[in-house]
Amino acid sequence: MYRYDDFDAAFVAERNRQFRAQVERRIDGSLTEEEFKPLRLMNGLYLQLHAYMLRVAIPYGTLRSAQMTQLAYIADKWDKGYGHFTTRQNIQYNWPKLRDIPDMLDALAEVEMHAIQTSGNTIRNVTADHFAGAAEDEVADPRPVAELIRQWSTDHPEFQFMPRKFKIAVTGSPNDRAVTAAHDIGIRIVERDGEIGYQVLVGGGLGRTPMIGKVISDFVSGDDLLPYLEAIVSVWNVLGRRDNKFKSRIKITVHEHGIDAIRDLVEERFAEVKPLFSGVDQEMLAAITAQFAAPEFRQAPTDAYDAAYESDPTFRAWADTNLFAHRADGYAIAQISLKAHGETPGDATSEQMRVMADLAERFGHDELRISHEQNVVLPHVHKSDLPEVHKILKAHRLATANIGLVSDIIACPGMDYCALATARSIPIAQQIATRFDELKIEHEIGDLKIKISGCINACGHHHVGHIGILGLDRAGVENYQVTLGGDHTETASLGERTGPGFSADEIVGAVETIVETYMSERESAEETFIQTYRRVGMAPFKAALYPEKAKADAEARANAA
């Protein structure tokens, strides 16, 4: 894993020193709030409904045990003993006090972490496949290039005051687990004639105007990648709409100008930028890549796993849903669900963080991942250790066997915390998970992704949920719009609205109706929700959700005939 060099450490320390002084000047009155706000946002500090919120970057979702332990320490010392993992692989603390922020940032720096560029109109935390370096289906580990992009984009002088924020995601696998099609730039590592290169997508994004990213280049070679990215951001930095916040993201620029025109401009700019790259980036990439060398996987029998799988149904259920194929023999990727039924999606207590850190240290080659689906991953666990890992997880409410199932819900903080929200998300997620747990049918339902956002900005990725839920304020009452058929993977698509929204009291029932409709429409238990939806379309779901409307339509047709 990447370790800070002297330059990184000095850079973060200097930024922390500056911000400490800025906080002091805000408190002593030398800085107004207008002057202070952009400075605090550059350091990840927001003001939310009930308190400040500090958003800490977890680059490409990768953590060492010591870092997770420190996150727990920070939660206890300066917050309320828990943290919230987000859809951009960050962690948010919801209750810090202004005076404590500089100390929190220093504590983060001790473990090579920071909150720089987790807000503001900059290039944000670079996200990646949470199975990076472990997945069987991977072309190459996306983290070295994600780290290179992080270093290039951090404090990049040209890209500190852009039209709007800018998000980049990287996948090293053809099975896209990093939602690359919904990012400003999505990078997919591909292999062509034995050479590793990058397919680059641009102009994806969710929010008010959701768009699936378009391919701007099918193959960018390794030494061209940074100058190519610089060319894209540079073109948008000039063209992007600064006059209208709602049209400022690159997805709108691409939409307004067309992908072909943007591609031409990027090629032109690339020709200018490329000679400025002396090749030092490739030397750095080589050094970074060496740091991401795979751990030494051990050769051992898996009898303990086989025996537990055979004899312990609880373990078997967990293994069936929460494990994923690892590229090394005898290993598995173990997913830790932060979605215990009825709990807040993505939240972990400091005690749970310490348990996960300890497990990673003892059984997981010291590595942890945060997924955009708000779960934690132990990417390298030898199967013989899994029964013990499971036992410990279970003792700390971390062994919920629901990864990829109906209760593994993405939910943004919504109006329980967020100042931008128009409705709550968390209670809806809690109620849906609790309801399906009562029904005891989630394993029967199978692969189904519900994603909930508490406002149009779509932090909860509702547009790409198989079932998407968007919380709105309709005349002073919380109201929930439903979309169906979204997909966040390599076959990305945006969900379609079912029709009028549902009240907070109705939404759980509406989701149940959708699931029942799927169960009755599916051809077999193997046909997943999204497959069924793509085959039968919206009509049966609409008819089930709005029976009055269906009846009226049928009568109108009968009368017309």
Binding site: L47, Q48, H50, A51, L98, T344, M415, I426, G476
Partner: protein, 98 residues
């Protein structure tokens, strides 16, 4: 025709703690909505708001929030203000716990 003015309180977040505060009639900041001054006159509200916003060493994000007159003081007319005076619904934290 101009819309009829509805009663309001002045609210914002404390600079150091970040929590929700309301302006009381004696110009102090209170953490209890029931102690807030319910302003019923529009001109009065605007002047009070300007004065409150100038207190940058104490508060941030100051604005006028719609309220109704209740038995024990101002009552929110919108769910957002109800959450602000209570705290999050997933944990017993924030104002409800103090």
């Amino acid at each position: 025709m101009p819309r009829k003015f509805t009663p309001k309180v002045i609210t914002g977040n404390a600079l150091l703690e970040g929590d929700v505060v309301y302006l009381a009639a004696d110009d102090s900041w209170t953490r209890e909505l029931s102690q807030a001054e319910l302003i019923t006159d529009e001109a009065d509200a605007q002047v009070r708001l300007i004065d409150a916003q100038a207190r940058v060493g104490e508060v941030t994000g100051v604005y006028l929030a719609d309220m109704a007159e209740g038995e024990t003081g101002p009552e929110p007319t919108h769910f957002r203000e109800d959450f602000r005076r209570t705290g999050p619904s997933n944990y017993f934290l924030g104002k409800q716990a103090s």
